[in-house]
Symmetry: C3
């Protein structure tokens, strides 16, 4: 039955095999996250609206036993070439992979970078609001990776990618650069990652260390450690992320300072010697197979060494989320949800330079990963 | 035959069922409208060109017996987030629906708003040129609707959506707003619609009333009534649409006044207290099943109450179209067409303030809704 | 078996036929070209990066025995309406065709123009770097063509399309136009093409002549002749392209002069009476079925008759490429490659007006036309 021939009168089984093989290569998803939001910006000035947080088209499949591909592309972002990688920021993923054997797989193309952390690990449609660290990662990059899987419980990945989608001068185009900073000749990011399952899957890891070249002789050293306690109806995930940047890579600190500098007619500089620390804890409980309750807390600091009038960890950010999710269909990746999301950003030291801010949101909505084929 | 199992050796019927179920979920259309145009702008200054009026990708299908989806996305418009709804204007539709039972269906996502009118009811590839009212409706909005179908001849819909894709300040960003106008906290549109078949389908209705919040305490009340006499080879459709806007919602009057105000260095204001009335009549005759002849007439007025130097119904618009359509294939949604389209816009009162204009077009082309899967 | 009926209990063969017919209509490809580049701009200032040169989605198939369609759309270019043709430059192809009989086929929609030349004939993912002529052709245009195939060895095409995607004033919007130049009323391109196989396919042709209307009474006459010696393991392709433009159509000469004019605060004019000549030779050798070696040389000149201080053929461009391609899978359109690409542009005459430039690139990468369905 399996030898598909080009005979003039193929059997029904042969015909079916051809159709099935073609069909198996393609799987289509529409990743959606839609909400009705009640939101304020800290002034108790609430307003309401419908909003689509995410719409990402996805196609993936196996082309042969060993060769596979995946494309994920946002439908609500401009399709414009990145000046470095030639791809649109709308394209999250465009990868091809090959299994050399059970243990070695190579992938190339536009990849999700292999950072650690459990917040980072999820499909973004399941994230109601990222931490500052996750929000500013710029994590879809062109490159290649080798994946080594010694056994089913451990995966080690070494990945090299471009550092950004745009060239140095475009990435930092809204800022003045400190004097003497020049473009790197090898603007790449190197990541080493370990995904592990320990004690019969009770402890799971998403750990990674990374080195990124942001400019000539300017690097960022990153460590991202996601660790999960995984029990049948309860999970506790804890993420710790740290960046030591010679030149502000995440731009969280530089961005918040931008408004201040602009208001004082001071040149808007990229900060040097910036340290970010992020802590995320998320607890989830499933009272039954179709319900999930969660709480999540985030604490993040930014420290800029170079500036005297700015205190250590001058920027502190707090996030506190809680929510209920209901999965109405067993065979559909759909979640109805009601969530509360709060966030506060506080500046220490000469606080009159920067304005604290906070925001609150109550969202009622639907996450649906439609499997359309 | 129906119980699809994961047995190691599925029967041909089981294999076929899996492939068929997957295939049934996806239907793909390319909605196209292509013409060779001879056009002038009223000065008998004719020019020729090929033009693609429409290219909209569409995918839809049933995911389960009760759950369905539909996506329609233009390929010739920027994919950029609307500042209110987060979606691109290129996305016409991105909806998911669920039939609770024979009578109650709920849909959510980016929806075609349920306005009335037969011009509005058609797939836009079949429209050679919209009325001013239809052209300026901004009718693809994020929200939800309940559809009640008491029997096969009547459908009632209640729908709530965002009022626009962009935030208040972005939607009106090209204009000065009259003093005291503020953003609404609930910028939503409420529509109630009746789609009816009467007297064995001889009379068919697409009627709707709507309330839209355009700004704080500024509303638009709309009534859109489409009624059709539907005989075997002859149809006569009549649409009446009326808008009473506290703040110009369609922007037709404000747009035509814009050039004038800009030329006089007067601030370009959004008009308040604007009334639009539109009348559309279309007669169609099928001498045989593959031919259709039509004539269509449009008369539209705009009245701005607030301004003294502008007369009642200061803007009058006339449209007069005629065409022949030929459907060469029974099993393909393809129409070859030859049409004439004329339009005149006249300003009453102090007519030296505004310039009348008119345009003519002869189009030879193809409308084709390609069913690609 | 073939009569698909709507009976309540279709046979397995009937069911399979329905699924197969639907499946046969759609074929999906992802055309990709990904590289790791070492590049310099002539100053021996090398830098490295990953880059995606091409990502084009493609769908095509037969809708009936005689009716076919094809869509090809770039995922890394803006989706914005061309001001003339209404389509995005991201859309390469959106065509529908019909075989009237074995000899006559008509196609319409956005088409690849039927220029001659073997460089031009290839899917762009297989081109590492186009000649200046090929790079600046603007060759995806809306229109229609009649294809006459008297026998399997010869194909003659007559095609009419728009001349550009954008209107005259938009296409030349970055330049001053010479005095007296006006928009054409029929901005069209007419192409006549011959694709031939001679002496049992040993000689193959892609020849075309064309007339393009660029402005009122301003035309470009083009001749593009691609001829190939086609032996079992060795091919030698030679392309000759010539443009005689009343008004610079390719804009290569005008573009290179632009910087100079801008630096001298002289108005940047479009050149009149421009002649382009391009010569391309490519030799390919296959030592085995999975390896291909090639060398390619390009010599191009641009002559501007009108300007005294500019010599005949004032701009000369040289390209010299070599590469190795390896096809690892028999049943996949994948090529791994290592190439060297060099280019030099020299200006003759008053050479202090313009600056010569050159660039070099070594690329290691993958070309993959993924057949995803």
């Amino acid at each position: 039955q399996d030898n598909i021939t080009n005979e003039e009168y193929p059997s029904i089984a042969q015909k079916l095999n051809i159709v099935q093989k073609k069909s198996d290569k393609l799987n289509i998803y529409l990743n959606t996250h839609t909400t009705f939001d009640l939101a304020d910006n800290g002034s108790n000035n609430w307003s309401a609206k419908f909003r689509m947080k995410d719409i990402r088209f996805e196609a993936k499949g196996y082309l042969t036993d060993k060769l596979f591909y995946r494309l994920r592309h946002k439908l609500n972002q401009r399709n414009e070439k990145g000046s470095l990688d030639g791809l649109s920021k709308a394209t999250d993923i465009l990868k091809v992979g090959y299994h050399f054997n059970d243990k070695i797989t190579v992938i190339g193309g536009k990849l999700i970078q292999y950072w650690g952390g459990w917040e980072y690990d999820l499909n973004p449609i399941y994230i109601y609001e990222f931490s500052d660290y996750g929000e500013n990662m710029d994590c879809f990059q062109l490159g290649a990776a080798v994946i080594y899987t010694p056994n089913k419980d451990h995966e080690f990945v070494f990945q090299i990618t471009d550092n950004h989608n745009d060239k140095f001068e475009d990435f930092y185009s809204n800022y003045y650069l400190p004097e003497g900073i020049e473009e790197s000749k090898m603007p790449l990011t190197y990541i080493f990652n370990w995904n592990g399952n320990l004690f019969s899957d009770v402890i799971k890891t998403r750990w990674a260390v990374a080195l990124q070249t942001d400019a000539k002789d300017k690097h960022t050293y990153s460590i991202t450690l996601g660790t999960m306690l995984n029990l049948p109806n309860f999970q506790l995930a804890f993420d710790y992320m740290r960046d030591d940047s010679d030149l502000d890579r995440l731009l969280v600190a530089s961005n918040d300072a931008k408004d201040y500098f602009m208001s004082t007619n001071t040149p808007v500089n990229i900060f040097e010697d910036v340290t970010y620390n992020s802590f995320i804890a998320k607890a989830e409980y499933q009272p039954s197979s179709s319900w999930n309750l969660f709480v999540k807390g985030i604490y993040e600091t930014a420290n800029v060494a170079e500036l005297e009038y700015i205190d250590d960890n001058f920027r502190k950010s707090y996030g506190y989320y809680a929510g209920i999710e209901y999965m109405p269909f067993e065979d559909q990746e759909m979640r109805l949800f009601l969530t509360y999301l709060g966030k506060k950003v506080k500046f220490e030291g000469n606080t009159n330079l920067f304005s604290n801010y906070d925001k609150n949101r109550i969202s009622l909505g639907v996450i649906y990963r439609i499997k359309a084929f």
